[in-house]
């Protein structure tokens, strides 16, 4: 088949009224692109965003451990006096406290190094005995 045997015909079509609307679309696009661009959005963010993200992630990683304190750490911030007052005011008995304890390997390590535990309580042995006696007496009563 020769090229000259084929009728020249445009097979491509456009949607209705396409060429009526195109000038307006082009004018709108020019108006849009002529608007002064916000430097912060266009250039500032494009180049600063990776650095900002890196800083945010770094700060988060550094701060995170201190913000997620364990229950033991939080309890350590409460003074002994406040703890005693709380226990005195509550209805919990010594037996109930002992029963609720789940002794793990870590707990046993504490028992093996009992002196340190007492030192941490910042109480003399006499004070501790008096405290225990108080609770036992209250429980009996």
């Amino acid at each position: 088949m020769k090229l000259e045997d084929i009728k020249k015909q445009n097979i491509h079509k456009v949607p209705d009224k396409y060429f009526d609307e195109l000038p307006l679309k082009i004018q709108s696009k020019i108006a849009e692109e002529s608007k002064p661009k916000n430097w912060v959005v266009t250039y500032g963010l494009r180049y600063a965003l990776p650095a900002v993200l890196l800083i945010v992630i770094t700060v988060y990683v550094i701060i995170k451990p201190s913000t997620t304190a364990s229950p033991e750490q939080l309890l350590a911030q409460v003074s002994t006096e406040e703890l005693i007052s709380y226990l005195e005011a509550s209805d919990i008995t010594t037996e109930e406290i002992v029963e609720s304890l789940e002794l793990s390997a870590i707990d046993f390590e504490f028992y093996e190094n009992e002196t340190e535990l007492v030192d941490e309580l910042d109480m003399s042995e006499d004070e501790l005995d008096a405290l225990i006696n108080d609770f036992e007496t209250e429980d009996i009563l």
Binding site: M1, L3, Q9, I11, H12, F19, L22, I26, I30
Partner: protein, 179 residues
């Protein structure tokens, strides 16, 4: 409106927008069909035509008044088309055959294409040509442009264009004969 009058309107701040609107209305169809035959898809052609006229508007100050307005716009359109097709390949790491395959599928499935079997076959034969040769063929065969005009637009010698067109016709006829 004649090009001379259009250029006068475009060079005046007060009448620039009016002049540009007239320019778009005068050339939009020719530029659209020039682009559409290269990229096949209507949506791609629509985006490209808008970009081309935005570029024309932004570069009005660079237009040399001794040049012909429509060859200048055609030149911008031609470069945009070739860049678009080139980027398409680079973006998807596509070899030439895959872009040809994609455009072939658009010829078969687009709702904006309606032609006889032989016309679609001709379009598929054209897709076998390198982009620039296809561009030259379209301008000569479909748009009936003179070699001098095509030479100005493509920055290629008339001799090279004649040879390119001659080879394109031979390749197309071979494809039509074989298929």
């Amino acid at each position: 409106m004649e090009d001379k009058e259009l250029i006068e309107k475009l060079s005046n701040d007060e009448s620039r927008n009016f002049g540009f609107n007239q320019l778009v209305r005068k050339y939009q169809e020719r530029i659209y069909w020039h682009v559409r035959k290269m990229v096949i898809d209507h949506e791609d052609a629509n985006d490209l035509v808008q970009d081309i006229f935005v570029k024309v508007y932004k570069n009005l100050s660079k237009f040399r008044q001794d040049a012909q307005l429509y060859t200048w716009i055609y030149r911008i359109a031609t470069n945009e088309c070739l860049n678009f097709l080139s980027k398409k390949r680079k973006r998807f790491f596509l070899p030439i055959g895959d872009v040809e395959g994609e455009l072939n599928r658009k010829l078969d499935s687009s709702p904006h294409i309606d032609g006889e079997v032989v016309q679609i076959k001709l379009q598929k034969a054209l897709l076998k040509l390198p982009d620039k040769q296809r561009l030259v063929f379209n301008m000569k065969y479909f748009d009936d442009m003179k070699y001098d005009e095509i030479s100005t637009i493509t920055d290629t010698s008339v001799g090279a264009l004649k040879a390119s067109y001659h080879h394109a016709v031979k390749k197309i006829e071979e494809y039509l004969k074989d298929d």
